[in-house]
């Protein structure tokens, strides 16, 4: 009797043997079963496949956390740095060899807390890095502490009486910092992620993909699959992502509309 992991591994091996273009690495992700990160993995892999970027021309840069392990599950070059420093390292990689396509990946703790000081600067420098921010509002790898995007009142072992700090809104921050491409996405919609990534990778400057996702192990109350499916929805039909004023208004009034929020006219 084969375990599900074994079945998946066989499939991966088959795909690789078949010579089909696959950015999946031979090592299987170590994320918990049911984790939203699998959806993001799928979305990014499909983007790379459909753009047909040679895997050796891609560098995936990360910090620390469950999302920090991402490079090990991707068959590209990878740079797994220390906590919070994916964006400075990605800046160096891109400027060091501008021919490379650079993805930076990280969670909300890595990108909004310890590394929060780097986001404004990579955005204002408009370095051509594609940043996937996995936002599940919890520290997963350290087993469930509140993060900068946890809602007020979040109860964890580290906040037994509920948190008292207001959450950060990464999409709003990215707009304020002057990012040239901003998308808000949902891990339960890998196709939507792929589409936005394809558009963002073509943006010649800094692109941020703020992705709502789950932590099935440490968050049973807020960003659950059920809640995110219920809350998220597409941007209005007549939405114009090149209008920065409208983008701010949209993000201020609706936390859960998904799609390309803003792209700067070339």
């Amino acid at each position: 009797m084969k375990t599900p992991a074994r079945v998946l591994a066989d499939q991966v091996n088959q795909i690789q043997k078949s010579g089909r273009f696959s950015p999946r690495s031979a090592s299987l992700p170590t994320w918990c079963p049911g984790c939203g990160y699998f959806g993001i993995h799928q979305g990014l892999n499909d983007c790379i496949s459909s753009l047909e970027i040679p895997l050796t021309q891609i560098v995936t840069v990360s910090g620390i956390g469950c999302a920090g392990r991402y490079p090990f599950f991707s068959n590209t070059y990878g740079l797994h740095t220390v906590h919070g420093r994916a964006l400075p390292a990605a800046t160096g990689v891109k400027l060091g060899n501008p021919n490379l396509t650079v993805f930076a990946v990280g969670g909300d703790g890595d990108g909004l807390a310890i590394g929060g000081g780097h986001l404004p600067h990579i955005a204002r420098r408009n370095i051509n890095v594609n940043y996937l921010l996995f936002d599940n509002s919890i520290y997963g790898l350290t087993k469930g502490q509140p993060s900068p995007s946890s809602p007020m009142g979040t109860k964890t072992k580290a906040s037994p009486y509920g948190t008292v700090d207001k959450p950060l809104n990464a999409t709003l921050m990215a707009l304020a910092y002057g990012a040239s491409f901003v998308a808000r996405l949902f891990a339960g919609d890998p196709k939507g992620i792929t589409e936005a990534l394809i558009e963002g990778v073509r943006n010649p400057g800094f692109s941020i993909f703020h992705i709502y996702t789950t932590c099935v192990t440490f968050d049973k109350n807020f960003k659950t699959w059920a809640h995110l499916k219920e809350w998220t929805h597409a941007l209005p039909q007549d939405y114009d992502p090149t209008d920065l004023g409208r983008a701010f208004n949209e993000v201020l009034k609706d936390d859960f509309s998904l799609g390309v929020i803003f792209k700067r006219d070339a």
């Binding site: 050796t56 891609i58 797994h80 740095t81 420093r85 990689v93 060091g96």
Partner: protein, 591 residues
């Protein structure tokens, strides 16, 4: 030829043209064929609030340390210059403005605090400048004219360097500045005709065109450019900022780029990122910034990514003494950061070595795939020397990258455990060599692995690599070598010049003394240092720090205790302090 060893100071308030005047003295004397070592000190406060002093030691023999006694003081502001009088030599020459721009009350005048025997030369600096150029701004140049006349410097030397300095600003400015100089020169020649000294006039050594007047900052900037630097990432911090400013100006025309980052953490992060992608990059900082970098430096050690970090030490801890010199980051450079994170640390001792060590640091970083720290200090950065500088050729600055063999394509092990510990390093873009550089403990392949066997094996590999790097690191150099020494003095960094002068003077006094220059701080040549210590009856390590940080590192190499001589004065160690300590030790030994 009579020996010249003459120190001149210029002192004024910020805005008086003090630093410019000191610079012109250095250039003129260098063109006159003298050896020059200059050092400026300026206030940490912004313009208009502080005292500026330049110190130039001028010699007919090679000058390796700062002068301790001032033979001539040029005062552009008497109230500020009062602070300089304690270091005046006997019969020193003092030049002051006999018609100063502001009234100086008698009890705060310079003359009231001069030692007896000082020879004063009152010259109306401002009035002469107004007469020559129509404005008093040239009073620093009339002061130089007076100095040149009294000490017997060929005025053409000054005229030449004034022209060189101002030629980019147009003929009119050159003309009025030369006129201001001449006004002071002629006034003093006539007024003090019976008191002229002719100190410099008898020297006939010609100008050596290979000798260039360079500061440590300039040498480091030139080295980075000659090494083909592609990217400089930095954050402003005294005293490392001038390197960023130099490169911001000159790097673009050589195809490189300077990026001012948001902090020191992102600076080192970006350096690691660009070296990972195959581009030479560097950052320069000082103690407080270096402290912020240490986590990512150990990431470079663990993930085996090259990096070049220059730490221009200043007084510490914390914000400390931003504009003062100290050698107190040695422990941080060698040991700073989490874990067993051995990295290469090298420390130049003069301006010429600043150049060569920075070029070498890129090659060491590439070959040994580890951060290389160049440890300098405020004194080394801001002093100027006129030594011959032979610039490196492209070949001498060539890459030392070790790339994997094509045979390993598709089964490449990024962290292969080789006899030397060096694992060939692929760069992104190479087909069939994909790998993950990680700060987690990892296998030879690069997969995370925390097993006892693997961590033991890979720790051993990384340290073996560092030991192996010794063969490319400069050996300690012995001066006045001999089989037995009564006192052996070990020096490093900017302090070594004072050590050399002190040892030379002690030897002239008939003592059996030698000096060892240590430039490879980590890893270090324990056998060479140990042998030097073993053959010395007493071992002395003078350092500009309180804890004796080099002494702590090497004391275990010999069974007898190491004598320490520590200063935290924020100023270079005077050679006489080392000489006195040497001779004290000899007396104790004799008893």
């Amino acid at each position: 030829m009579p020996e010249v060893d003459f120190t001149v100071e210029v002192c004024g308030m910020a805005g008086d043209g003090t630093i410019a005047a000191g610079g012109l003295i250095n250039e003129a004397m260098s063109h006159g064929g003298f050896s020059v070592l200059g050092f400026d000190s300026y206030p940490a406060e912004i313009r208009g609030f502080g005292r500026c002093v330049t110190n130039s030691r001028i010699g007919s023999n090679e000058i390796v340390a700062l002068g301790e006694k001032t033979h001539a003081l040029i005062s552009l502001n008497d109230e500020q210059s009062r602070s300089r009088t304690p270091s005046l030599a006997e019969h020193s020459l003092v030049f002051f403005d006999s018609n100063p721009p502001a009234y100086v009350p008698e009890d705060s005048s310079l003359l009231s605090v001069l030692p007896p025997g000082a020879q004063v030369f009152g010259i109306p600096f401002g009035a002469l400048a107004v007469g020559a150029s129509g404005a008093s701004r040239g009073r620093n140049l009339t002061a130089l004219g007076g100095f040149a006349a009294v000490t017997g410097v060929d005025p053409n030397l000054f005229r030449k360097v004034i022209r060189d300095k101002f030629k980019s600003k147009g003929d009119r400015l050159v003309d009025i500045n030369v006129k201001s100089f001449d006004a002071g020169y002629e006034y003093a020649l006539e007024k003090f005709s019976d008191r002229l000294k002719k100190i410099f006039s008898k020297i006939e050594t010609g100008h050596d065109p290979q000798k260039v007047m360079l500061s440590g900052n300039q040498a480091i900037g030139m080295a980075a450019i000659d090494a083909g630097l592609k990217l400089y990432f930095g954050y402003p911090i005294t005293p490392a900022t001038p390197i960023m400013e130099y490169l911001a100006k000159y790097l673009p025309e050589h195809g490189g780029q300077v990026v001012q980052m948001e902090d020191e953490i992102s600076s080192i992060g970006a350096v690691l990122g660009s070296f990972y992608a195959g581009a030479r990059s560097m950052t320069a900082t000082s103690g407080p910034g270096f402290a912020l970098m240490t986590e990512l430096i150990t990431h470079g050690v663990m993930a085996e990514i090259p990096a070049v970090i220059l730490d221009a030490q200043r007084g510490g801890p914390a914000t400390g003494l931003p504009t003062k010199t100290e050698q107190s980051d040695l422990h941080a450079a060698v040991f700073g950061g989490p874990g067993d994170s051995a990295r290469i640390v090298i420390a130049p001792t003069n301006v010429e070595e600043c150049y060569h060590f920075v070029i070498r640091s890129f090659q060491l970083a590439e070959k040994y795939q580890t951060p290389v720290i160049v440890l300098t200090d405020f004194f080394l950065h801001n002093r100027v020397e006129n030594r011959p500088l032979i610039r490196a050729t492209e070949g001498q600055a060539a890459s030392w990258n070790v790339f994997p063999d094509e045979a390993f394509k598709d089964h490449y092990q990024r962290y292969a455990d080789t006899p030397s510990g060096i694992s060939p390093r692929a760069l992104p873009g190479m087909q069939g060599f994909n790998f993950i550089a990680t700060g987690l403990e990892h296998t030879e392949k690069g997969s995370p692995d925390y097993s006892p066997e693997n961590h033991t094996k890979m720790s051993e590999k990384r340290h073996r690599k560092l030991r192996y790097s010794l063969k490319d690191l400069e050996k300690p150099a012995e001066f006045f070598a001999s089989d037995h020494l009564d006192v052996g003095v070990i020096g490093w960094g900017s302090t070594f010049g004072s050590v050399l002068e002190a040892v030379e003077k002690s030897r002239k006094n008939g003592f059996k003394v030698g000096a060892l220059k240590v430039t490879s701080i980590f890893p270090y040549h324990s056998e060479t240092i140990g042998a030097f210590m073993a053959k010395s009856k007493r071992v002395l390590v003078p350092e500009l720090n309180y804890e004796g940080q080099l002494a702590n590192l090497i004391a275990h190499l010999d069974s007898k205790p190491v004598e320490r001589l520590n200063f935290v004065t924020g100023t270079p160690i005077p050679p006489s302090a080392i000489q006195n300590r040497i001779e004290e030790l000899l007396e104790v030994e004799a008893q």
